[in-house]
């Protein structure tokens, strides 16, 4: 064992407190069917297992080949396509994360979240009750969103911890989580410190994630890895594992602010990490690709990849979300085409 590995092993052994899965099949919440705690035992995390983390491999060329061939291997047509697109809608975290967000803008978005599909189209396909998975906003917009969604059962997610760069003082990042939870956010999307990954400081990443998870309390935590800034797919695999070990409920690709956001290859790596974590611990971690998914066809590819790599259980909003703002518009047009047989136009669908 090299000196480096040995050091990590020691660190690991020191931490070797056998983790106790806390199978708190927690409180039911009849309004928020999307929330993980309803159906899954929540991931308590594990000790940091550096042997496992460092043995993770990700061969980029092979992963890209799989990602490229999968959409060509799985074609979903007609009624199935419409149903799959509805499934995609149910998994969208409808998002606005702009400097010019206002309460009104957020209220508009929330109205769209509750009725994502034009009502006549929803009726024609028997999906009147369809809503998106959640609404995702900055902290200051949380109260407006919570109020707007009060009767809908749609949860509010807040991006946090100095989003998007995550470089504000650590205590403020932790405090920000508490503020958002207090304001009514039931899901917190945290950003990890990319430098911990880039410097190989897995312990620091683990500790940070542990602290964020603790600060979330009952609120669910999605760990944003900012995969576009991690340099290699191997780092993506390792960061995924560390965040899950530290108690993440979801792992998420991107803030949407990096130059490269969600991609199928990155998704494949993260999904496989989730699968391994489930194999090892029995806990199902959710997956959220975010940024850059704007076409209905892409949404189907992601769903197919989930189905193939993780299985049907993950095709539910408690274990899968799209972080997207413009995807819904394209899906609406496709659904109208399904109903009428004619291609649609964007202005025929209400904006959010």
């Amino acid at each position: 064992m090299t000196g480096f590995l040995a050091k990590w092993q020691t660190a690991c052994d020191a931490l070797d407190q056998p983790w106790q899965p806390q199978l708190s099949m927690t409180h039911t919440h009849e309004k928020t069917a999307q929330l993980p705690q309803v159906t899954e035992p929540r991931n308590p995390g594990t000790a940091l297992d550096l042997d496992w983390v460092l043995s993770a491999r990700a061969n980029r060329s092979a992963i890209e080949r799989r990602a490229a061939s999968l959409p060509a291997r799985r074609s979903v047509k007609k009624a199935h396509q419409a149903a799959w697109l509805c499934r995609a809608v149910s998994c969208i975290d409808l998002t606005t994360l702009s400097g010019d967000d206002t309460e009104d803008r957020v209220r508009r978005l929330c109205a769209k979240a509750a009725h994502p599909i034009r009502r006549d189209i929803a009726a024609a396909i028997g999906m009147e009750a369809l809503t998106v998975g959640a609404v995702c906003v900055y902290h200051d917009m949380v109260p407006a969103a919570v109020a707007a969604l009060a009767q809908t059962g749609i949860p509010v997610a807040a991006v946090s911890t100095g989003f998007p760069a995550g470089l504000s003082p650590f205590h403020l990042r932790v405090a920000e989580i508490g503020e958002s939870v207090k304001a009514g956010a039931s899901e917190i999307d945290i950003v990890i410190s990319r430098r911990h990954v880039l410097t190989g400081n897995w312990q620091a990443l683990y500790d940070e994630m542990r602290a964020f998870r603790a600060a979330c309390g009952e609120a669910h935590v999605k760990a944003i890895l900012a995969t576009g800034e991690l340099g290699t797919l191997e780092n993506v695999a390792r960061a995924s594992l560390v965040c899950m070990m530290a108690g993440a409920d979801f792992i998420k690709t991107s803030t949407g602010k990096e130059s490269v956001n969600a991609t199928l290859p990155v998704s494949l790596v993260m999904m496989r990490a989730i699968r391994d974590y489930h194999d090892q611990t029995g806990f199902r971690i959710g997956y959220k690709p975010a940024g850059g998914i704007s076409k209905a066809k892409d949404a189907i590819s992601y769903l197919a990849m989930i189905k193939e790599e993780l299985g049907d259980r993950w095709l539910r909003p408690d274990l899968f979300r799209f972080g997207a703002s413009s995807l819904l518009g394209d899906i609406e047009r496709q659904l109208e085409h399904h109903v009428t047989g004619a291609y649609s136009a964007s202005w025929r669908h209400a904006m959010g």
Binding site: R57, S61, R65, V76, A79, I125, M127, T232, R272
Partner: protein, 780 residues
């Protein structure tokens, strides 16, 4: 099913590609096909049905060719050939380009036809077969364009008979026709009887492209038609892709008839996974390796070799992955595994799998109710001695065993009669690049599998056949040297005259040279060698079967030579030259003495030149990287053929021997050389030069005796990788025929004289090497 229900269940449903256009095309052609000869379709004759394996429906009626029709096709090709070659590279290029363009325009028709006829998933026909076939024509349009300047000393071979299999009907057609046409040949091609439709559609494309009449001829029918083509005197080259059994028969049929031959045959390719691999990707790779095209792929990664530390985890992941494979209607775009080509094949697969213990057979997939389907199958925990680990199954059946160390992985991988392809999964570049050259095969894929491109050579070693398709080497296989050859005259030794000896000093005993030692012949017989005036000069041993056996064994054992550096090999060849030069007078006298000629000094000087020339080339006749469409490198590595046996030139006892030896050694081969039969003493003198030149034991072995007696044990020896014949005794046919046993590479003179001069260097070096393509995709 209603949308809310699907929303809940999230099933894929069906996504069928329409067959309407392809079926309409068949109707337009009358549903009955004749052959395509001399630019036109002939009237259908005695027909058989072409059946869709997925449904059992008859798609069309195909004509069984008669020998008169094969004659007509060969005649048409012959008539067209000179004009086609004269058209020049640029002119041919335009035709190939037009074919490529038309294949693109008719891409979906070709893909659907292929799927209907063969049973392969439409996704594969659409995304793999047809695009690769087009790519082959584009690539070779370019080859034609530059042939005149880049291959100035090569010309077309003539009329090529081409026989392609049913697993990739159009793609294999493209692999055969594109390079043949680019080089200026004309062709008579026979598609497999199960799958003739895309070849006939291609014929139609040739017509649309305005290809001159007779350049491409397609005749249909079963193996009997194939035999007519291979046996036809009007065919100059045979290119065959198919089973090893048929390949062997073709080798025997064509033996001694002066036909060029390339064979791309069966395989049982290893798929090696090391413990540092990206396991999930390696599992996924198996889907492309053995469940691609229902496993009906000659280079399918059908033998899974698992590194012990990860075996259990890998198998668990593999089983789960298999359960996700979707088997069914090949026209459904979401199907992974389609129909097996024919009930006969299905029965053969089932028969082989039935030999396994039932508890070792894993078949998790849901199967269609009807049609010719065979389930994806995994058979675990086999040992190398199990027939399922040795026999090519040619179906969606994966077998596995485990290994402990990298060297054991190599041993297991090479423990087969075949040598087509191999796959290696490891994230460690040291390991992967160390293993790749040690695998006895023509193609190695690192961290990937079944990657193909027109720019990269494809083909096998051992009983997977010889010749390459794709790349420069593939183009070379459709050309021959421009040089004219002359008929070789039988060389007779000087016979006994006065019977007195001219040996005046102490008696010198010429012996065989085996494993670095002088050896007496096993049979204990010698023959006299007479010089000018019929005087007895010496006796040489008459080598027999056991001497051949010993020599091959010694050569096989000297494997370190093949792993030595080119610099070292060059140094030793130079040193041999230096030592020969030091004894030039003696060697010249010997030649003059044996031959009664006076050109001994010149021959010695030419021999020293040859040694220096091949020493020079040792570290320069190197490989290339190929521009394949991938982020990564495809290395075309030149590897030694292995152990080469040769019947050396009779007339030039030193130059012939030295040229063969030097070219082979320069490239890292070991040799068993049968000395000039009439003038053997130059060879027996020469081993003393070898002894003083640091040539490792076993690298060069020298036998003496009649070539006719040595040809049989050498050509039939299963551990000789190649057999060359430059003898003035007519043995070419026998050597080619006997070489069919282990499908050794042959280079025979067909009764023609051989050029040993500077211009023939590449010919020797090419024969002494085999190109292995190593695909190394990379990226982090």
């Amino acid at each position: 099913m209603q949308i809310p229900e699907i929303f809940d269940r999230m099933e894929y449903g069906t996504a069928p590609e329409t067959a309407a256009d392809a079926l309409a095309w068949l109707v337009d052609q009358g549903d009955r096909f004749g052959h395509f000869i001399n630019g036109a379709f002939t009237e259908p004759g005695a027909v058989f049905d072409s059946v869709s394996p997925a449904t059992g429906e008859t798609l069309a009626c195909i004509t069984q060719a008669t020998s008169a029709e094969v004659d007509a096709a060969v005649r048409a090709a012959r008539r067209a050939q000179a004009g086609w070659a004269r058209l020049g590279g640029a002119g041919r290029s335009r035709h190939l380009y037009a074919i490529a363009r038309l294949m693109q325009k008719h891409a979906r028709l070709l893909a659907v036809l292929e799927t209907l006829d063969n049973g392969k998933p439409i996704r594969e026909a659409r995304d793999v077969d047809i695009p690769l076939a087009q790519r082959h024509f584009y690539f070779h349009a370019g080859m034609a364009q530059i042939m005149d300047t880049e291959m100035p000393d090569r010309v077309a071979i003539g009329v090529c008979g081409q026989i392609v299999p049913w697993n990739f009907p159009l793609l294999m057609l493209a692999w055969k026709i594109a390079p043949a046409l680019a080089a200026g040949n004309t062709v008579v091609l026979k598609p497999a009887e199960y799958t003739s439709l895309t070849a006939l559609c291609f014929a139609d494309i040739c017509r649309q492209a305005g290809l001159p009449k007779g350049v491409v001829n397609i005749v249909t029918g079963d193996g009997a038609v194939g035999e007519m083509i291979t046996a036809h005197d009007g065919v100059d080259k045979i290119a065959f892709t198919g089973s090893t059994e048929v390949g062997r028969a073709i080798r025997a049929t064509t033996a001694g008839r002066g036909k060029a031959l390339t064979l791309e045959l069966g395989g049982k390719s290893p798929y090696i996974v090391f413990d540092d691999a990206d396991i999930d990707s390696a599992v996924e790779g198996l889907v492309d390796a053995i469940w691609f095209n229902q496993g009906q792929v000659c280079c399918a990664g059908s033998r899974l070799l698992l590194h012990a530390p990860i075996a259990e985890r890998f198998e668990d992941k593999l089983r789960r992955r298999m359960a996700k494979l979707r088997v069914g209607d090949p026209l459904d775009k979401s199907i992974d595994v389609g129909a097996v080509v024919h009930p006969v094949q299905k029965a053969r697969i089932a028969e082989l799998v039935a030999t396994a213990l039932p508890e070792t057979v894993y078949q998790p997939c849901e199967m269609p109710q009807s049609g010719c389907f065979y389930p994806p199958t995994y058979i675990s925990g086999l040992s190398p001695s199990d027939p399922l680990m040795q026999e090519e199954i040619f179906g969606p059946v994966l077998v596995s065993t485990t290994f402990r160390t990298p060297s054991e992985a190599v041993e297991l991988a090479n423990n087969t009669r075949y040598g087509l392809a191999a796959t290696v999964w490891s994230e460690n570049i040291n390991l992967a690049l160390d293993i790749a050259p040690k695998l006895a095969c023509g193609v190695v894929w690192i961290n990937g599998t079944n990657m193909f491109d027109a720019a990269a050579g494809f083909g096998g070693v051992k009983e997977s056949g010889f010749g390459r398709e794709g790349g420069w080497e593939g183009m070379a296989a459709y050309t021959r040297a421009k040089t004219k050859t002359t008929k070789i005259k039988p060389v007779q030794a000087i016979t006994s005259g006065t019977g007195t000896t001219i040996n005046e000093g102490i008696d010198r005993t010429a012996k065989l040279y085996i494993g670095g030692k002088q050896a007496r012949p096993d049979g204990g017989y010698s023959q006299p060698v007479f010089g000018k005036g019929g005087k007895l000069i010496a006796h040489v041993p008459i080598a027999g079967r056991k001497d051949v056996r010993n020599a091959v064994e010694a050569a096989r054992g000297a494997k370190a030579w093949s792993a030595s550096t080119a610099h070292l090999r060059a140094q030793i060849l130079y040193y041999i030259g230096e030592n020969l030069e030091a004894r030039a007078g003696e060697f010249a006298n010997r030649i003059n003495q044996m031959t009664g000629r006076r050109d001994g000094a010149r021959e010695v000087s030419q021999s020293v030149d040859a040694l220096f020339r091949f020493a020079a080339w040792a570290d320069k006749f190197d490989g290339q990287t190929r521009a394949v469409p991938m982020r990564g490198v495809a290395l075309a590595m030149r590897e030694p053929v292995g152990v080469i046996g040769a019947l050396c030139c009779d007339a030039r006892p030193l130059l012939g021997l030295v040229t063969v030896m030097a070219s082979a050694l320069a490239m890292g081969n070991r040799v068993v050389l049968a000395a000039s039969a009439p003038y053997p003493l130059s060879a027996t003198d020469f081993y003393q030069v070898l002894d003083t030149s640091d040539v490792p034991a076993g690298v060069v072995n020298i036998l003496t005796g009649p070539h006719a007696d040595l040809a049989e044990p050498m050509a039939s020896h299963a551990d000789l990788d190649a057999m060359w014949c430059f003898s003035s005794t007519d043995l070419s046919g026998e050597i080619e025929r006997l070489s069919a046993g282990n499908l050794k590479r042959t280079w025979v003179n067909n009764g023609q004289d051989t050029d040993y001069g500077a211009t023939s260097v590449r010919r020797f070096l090419d024969a002494a090497t085999e190109i292995k393509t190593v695909w190394v995709p990379y990226g982090v």
